[in-house]
Amino acid sequence: MTTTREDQLRSIAATVNDPEIPVLSIEDLGILRDVRTEGDGVVVTITPTYSGCPAMDTIADDLRIAFREAGYADARVELTLSPAWTTDWMSQEGKGKLAAYGIAPPTGIRDGSRVRVGMSVKCPHCDSLDTREISHFGSTSCKALYVCNACHEPFDHFKVI
């Protein structure tokens, strides 16, 4: 089996984790949009989850450091707003990691619809579907605050956008 250079570069980029949700790589999260070579350098394109997300700064730094350690001194990180990120891009593996970490993964698919189907959010602690939202907005832009009616534990839910 051969791996192309692009694959190798992508796997370097995929070692970078989200600083706020350290169990997820930026690839799991779906914010790693493109890795390509340009001359001797590398250009990585990422997209923010939310417009004001402060984690993007750290992610860009971590990407440059990861590439430098892998021998690519000239790595540039570009930000693209379009197409806008959606939780649909989060990998199944990523959703599994989120749940294991104690954050309820996004439920359902946004798929361009304005109407969000209200699906039950499963408690990541006891798997009960009997949960309720305390607040739309949580510890970071991408999360909402929930509580489980069965085990009474509060937990974060990754919002569907």
């Binding site: 417009s51 402060p54 993007m56 990180v77 930000l79 806008a84 607040s135 907005f137 832009s141």
Partner: protein, 300 residues
């Protein structure tokens, strides 16, 4: 955001080896609101790949950026003061979203004149700001803040929704990103309207008063300007008056379901887009700009 590079020249920052290594990589002007040290990714980087706006489009971006910036500053005040802790977090998050939109719009606007987002945010006087007056009105009580959120977030949702098909790719990209976030803001405001309006007599009365206080500033959101008309002909901008009917339908539905009344107050006359503002803006800017002006180039 900051106005001037701390080191004056946009050259290497500090002696840290990693910083030196990446000096100059997409980072010519430091930004004071960077949360992390090093070479942060900022809206400037967005603009690197985008062609600069023409003068009309830059002015339009400035208008929308000012709206988002001033409302973000207003809402951030609620952190530690909201009726419950979840609301500190919610209004703080909404403010952060709006600040993100403002940074993108202002960066795009600034690119035309060779400035930065920080030049525009911190070094303009009140008469140079173009935000709509509804965004600068005092927060009032929680009912007034929620009333404004309903009125303004619904407007932004319709505006950004239409702007996603702007012929200006940068404006369309910023709008598409912002739209998803604003949809949550509308939902947040709607849920509170229902709780407060259909809650106790006290909460009902206070949120109704909030609507009444904010209503005179509604008309201005839908006032057509020569600029918007010119830009709309090119498919860049949205004609504000075209949003009014759908806005009123949506807002009325929420207000009535909340057992409240749609106010009948007349429009307050002024021309915010030309720099006419209420006295409240000056005080808001004094607080927002003091640090950048007192310590030019400081980062925090």
């Amino acid at each position: 955001m900051s106005t001037h590079d701390l080191h004056g020249s946009g050259g290497p920052h500090g002696s840290d080896a990693v910083e030196d290594e990446f000096a100059g990589v997409g980072d010519t002007v430091a930004s004071a609101t960077r949360v992390t040290p090093g070479h942060a990714l900022r809206p400037e980087d967005i603009a690197l790949s985008a062609a600069p706006a023409d003068e009309d489009t830059a002015t339009y971006a400035l208008w929308l950026g000012d709206d988002a910036l001033i409302l973000a500053q207003r809402l951030a005040w609620w952190i530690s003061r909201a009726p419950e802790m979840e609301e500190d977090v919610a209004l703080g998050n909404i403010a952060l979203d709006l600040l993100g939109h403002a940074r993108s719009f202002l960066t795009y606007a600034a690119k035309f004149s060779g400035k930065t987002e920080d030049d525009l945010a911190y070094w303009r006087e009140d008469t140079e700001f173009t935000n709509l007056r509804i965004t600068e009105q005092p927060n009032g009580d929680f009912g007034a803040t929620i009333a404004r959120q309903l009125l303004f977030a619904t407007y932004q949702e319709l505006l950004y929704s239409a702007l996603t098909s702007s012929t200006d790719e940068t404006m369309a990209g910023i709008a598409a990103k912002a739209l998803k976030e604003v949809a949550y803001h509308v939902d947040h405001a709607t849920q509170w309207m229902l709780r407060l309006g259909d809650g106790t007599p006290e909460s009902h009365e206070r949120v109704q008063r909030g609507l009444d206080v904010m209503w005179p500033y509604v008309e201005e959101m839908f006032a057509d300007e020569e600029l918007t008309t010119r830009l709309a002909e090119r498919g860049v901008a949205v004609v504000p008056s075209s949003l009014r009917e759908e806005w009123l339908r949506r807002v009325t539905a929420v207000i009535e379901e909340s057992t409240l009344s749609v106010p009948t107050a007349k429009a307050a006359l002024a021309h915010s887009r030309a720099g006419d503002h209420s006295e409240h803006l000056g005080y808001l800017l004094a607080e927002m700009q003091v640090l950048a002006r007192k310590h030019p180039g400081a980062t925090w």
